[in-house]
């Protein structure tokens, strides 16, 4: 640890990121440009989230990293170890014990509390990017609140599939103003974005954007009156813990079509199993 500045980044970089975070909190849902740095991991591995985490961590924090809900995947383990080494912070896998949680593509099942900070890794922060590739144009669209194109996209989903088929990175409108990409979380998690007690920070390293949701912010998933937003999940209970209210991963267990569904949030699932809940596939 002594070979690095606290939390790896130099102080001037942290100040720059911190200023961007404050503006992001003041303008919920607006993407603040920031001078993203090269990190000792490739783009796509959470460099935006890592930089935001580095800017908010204090030595007293307890840090948790999840990747698709899991604490023990390569990405989660390497980022957790990175901050153990460069910031010397305590790490945990228990959601309730963590003060800063960096996440890739999930919101923990357990409701977050005041005093906690959720840091998202974001690949493409611009919700309009796949509809309009030019940054100069999407910026203008945000400034004019011109979001008709997004509704056309959702409408085309309905005309083609009969329902809104967008199932992750489902666009939301923040406080009635900015349309925001919630990062590729499943739309099952969208209802948790609004009115959350914790501070939510979003970092996109390659795309050099930071945005934020203060606690108790109004976040509405875009929809139509006759096709209301629906938070969907696999229609099964968890095979390990039996939970019916958690987001599930489908696992292929043999080469004869066998499969099982398990909680994507490993901490939630393990805590339930420890409390005696058992699913039908539990050993």
């Amino acid at each position: 640890m002594s070979n690095y500045n606290f939390a790896y980044l130099d102080e001037q970089t942290k100040r720059m990121i911190r200023r961007a975070i404050l503006k992001g909190l003041a303008i919920p849902g607006y993407q603040v440009p920031f001078a993203s740095r090269e990190m000792p991991m490739p783009y796509g591995w959470g460099t935006g989230g890592v930089q935001v985490s580095a800017a908010v961590l204090t030595p007293e924090d307890t840090f948790k990293v999840i990747d698709q809900g899991a604490d023990d995947t390569t990405n989660a383990v390497s980022i957790r170890t990175f901050f153990e080494r460069t910031a010397g912070v305590e790490t945990t896998t228990a959601t309730c014990d963590a003060t800063v949680i960096q996440t890739r593509h999930r919101i923990p099942e357990e409701a977050l509390q005041e005093g906690q900070i959720l840091v998202y890794q974001v690949p493409i922060p611009e919700p309009l990017r796949f509809l309009e590739p030019r940054e100069s144009e999407t910026r203008k669209m945000h400034s004019l609140e011109e979001y008709g194109l997004m509704h056309v996209k959702l409408y085309e989903d309905i005309s083609r599939h009969g329902h809104i088929a967008t199932s992750y990175a489902y666009p939301v409108k923040v406080e009635g103003r900015y349309v925001m990409d919630p990062s590729p979380i499943p739309k099952f998690d969208n209802p948790k974005l609004g009115d959350m007690a914790a501070i939510q920070l979003f970092g996109a390293g390659r795309e050099q954007r930071i945005y934020a949701l203060p606690p108790y912010t109004q976040v509405v998933s875009l929809d139509f009156e006759d096709h209301p937003f629906e938070a969907s999940k696999a229609d099964h209970p968890c095979g390990m813990c039996g939970a019916t209210d958690s987001y599930l991963d489908e696992l292929i267990v043999d080469d004869a079509g066998g499969r099982m569904f398990v909680c994507s949030d490993t901490d939630y699932c393990e805590a339930r199993q420890a409390a005696g809940h058992k699913g039908k596939d539990a050993a």
Binding site: K14, M16, R19, L22, K23, L25, A26, K140, P215
Partner: protein
Amino acid sequence: MQAAPLSGGFANTATQSAHAFRSVMEAMARPGTIQDIEGASPPAPLSPAAGAVLLTLCDTETPVYLAGEMDCDAVRSWLSFHTGAPFVGPAQCMFAVGIWDALGPLSIYPIGTSEYPDRSTTLIVDSAGLSASGAKLKGPGIKDYAALFLPELEAFQANNLLFPLGLDFIFTKGSELAALPRSTQISRLDSKAGAQVGAS
């Protein structure tokens, strides 16, 4: 009274600025809450809280405007030594520091552009009366309502109407701070029935 320019900074920059930033971030994310901030001993008339905010957020890339009495040799040399921030007029600044009466009128500060609303000034209002009473706050970061003493109402209500453009405020006194982002709606705190009429 005046500390020498070389002293009064963070003794351990990395951890003290991390703690100070968390206080500022909590304040900005939860308008109306009052946070402790410490670590800086700036020369008068700068309060320790305002000094810590400046040390945490300012460097050579952030033009600073010193309003009124803040524009003195002691503050200039202290801030120059510890942050290297250039001193500019109100129209070019990213941060402005001063007491409320010296900072106005608010129309002289950049409020951002419609495409880049973040390019706006953050005002550090020093020697503010920090207490959870006075104005009623509503908006992002606030569960139902919050209360915060504000030096006046109209200026902040007009600032909120500019959203998503506008100015952001950090109120400091002694070793405490509170913040008011542009997103907060402000009305008069009043126990009578007309309490919500003034909401913008």
